[in-house]
Amino acid sequence: MRARSLQRGGFAALLVFLVLGLAPADLAAEVASSVTINGSATVLRELGETKLMPAITASLDLDSEGNKNVKGYLRLDSYVGQNVGIDIPRAYLKVRLPWFRLTLGKTRVSWGDGFVFNAGDVVFGSMDTISGGLEGSALRDETAWLASVYLPLGAFSFLEVVTLPYGVANPEEYTFATSLGDVSPLMPLHSMSGGIRGAFKMGSTTLEIGYYATGRDTPEHRPYVSLHGHLLVDWNLSASMAILQFGPDWGQWEDYLRISAGLFHLINLGLNRTLSFRLEAAVRPGAGWEEIAGGADYGLFLFPEVSFSPTDTLSLQLRSLISPVDLSALSFLSVSWNIYQGLTIFSHLSLPVGDGNDLYQWDQGYPSSWTAGLEFIY
């Protein structure tokens, strides 16, 4: 018994020695902070009524710097209107050990490839229509409590193992807790979600394969494969399946299959003017291919985008979420101007185009809106 304790003590000492030996001069870290304040006013037209929504959002980012082997990050988001809301979308630690990297906390992993539609994103799911607006440079930025191990295999290849004890929670389910037990309720081990992926470079093409199993609600096996490369234009193609863990019906295999594909091309027009095109598609063979009233579970969605930058600081963008099955669309036109250091003036118009039975029907569900505002980062 004593010998076993000594062995454990020796192993612990070796581990401490290894960790401390990584960067004895680098253990101290400093904080780099930045604040993003976004003030806007939105005029909405919904259910026959025109409304105004003024809002301020402010984000505080605290990022450690100066330590090459340990990293901490905290983001605090606040929403200020007539009422006040607070969220912590990111709070995590990263530790680099001799052969792998460990991440622990609330953050995001980006599996697969695709700007809006990504069948390879089996963790967070990027095949649905976006519930929020189409503004912003990152349309999918959900986070969740997770632990991951990243194992590099050369410069361009790696393996990553991830586990999400609580899965991906709906933000609307978040509540303020008054005790640690409420913040982190005990979870049965079998209800945890987790998976593994590997990314490998083959010439100019990158292959990513992985598997993820969900543990909560409807347990599923989710294998996927994702490819991206360049042939005249940048392209990506992903396919995944969401197979019920209990009682899968292989006669309905098309219900399990998800496919996404994307193309992107940027044209330099000279005089620092650029024009870019993006087209993405999400296909679910087993979903609906005929129009139903107010339907959202359709088999095909498209996302076209055209961006034009007449100068380095000015950008015009036209994006749409198109539902070809019922011939409706949510269109989004935006202009932004980075006039001074850190300051951007922006305006955007969001417009659903469809009749009374469509997914994106005028004046219902998806409101028409016009927003104008300022964003300052310092």
Partner: protein, 245 residues
Amino acid sequence: MNRILPLIFTFGLLAALSVSAITAEEIVKNVERNEINEAERIDGSMIISDRFGSRTKTFISYASGSDKMLLEFTNPEERGQKILRLEDEIYLYFPEAEEVIHLQGSALKESVMGSDFSYEDMTGEGDLLDQYEVTLLGEESIEGRKHYHLELKARKRGLAYPKQEAWIDAETWVMTRANAYSLSGRLLKEMELGDIRVVAGKYVPHYIIMRDAMKKKSSTEMRIEAIDLVAKLPPDIFSLEELTW
């Protein structure tokens, strides 16, 4: 930024008229010997000026040889965004979305953060003599110092600049001026380097001013705040793992 220097190099004929004993290839080799390092770290800033004023971006860059570079922005607006150049590949990392983007094709010519530098400019183009046919046009005096005037013509398609012109200080082997041209001969960019200091036995210009000839009242100045030419870099710093750290 020392790695950024080779971005524009230069250029011709008239070699028969040259009175110099040195060849254009030898001049380029001397320049590369002075500016390419096995391991370097630079803390720098980029000041972008246009008619509305100026914007400052700060960064830390690491480089090894002529084809490996990792650059991380440290100013609040772009903090954590990174650019990795490894061999012929350029990758961008956006921490907000935890997303890696592989830059390919024409996207390489896109402006970096609204500056007058493209991604190719920022990360270098590899070995110059492999990529350009070099000709010594003659000798000139600039601010009282003897300079070699070179012309560089691209050996293959797809390089950032089909033709370049450069002036090399004959004593320090620092390129102090360069112009880049399109295939049709139109002036695209002008570059000026200065504040040359001796660091670890090498001559290092501490500022570069880049002007895009197509844009009026616009320029970008890059400044070296600190430089270490014998930096101890981790062996796997030029990798996707470091990019996403």
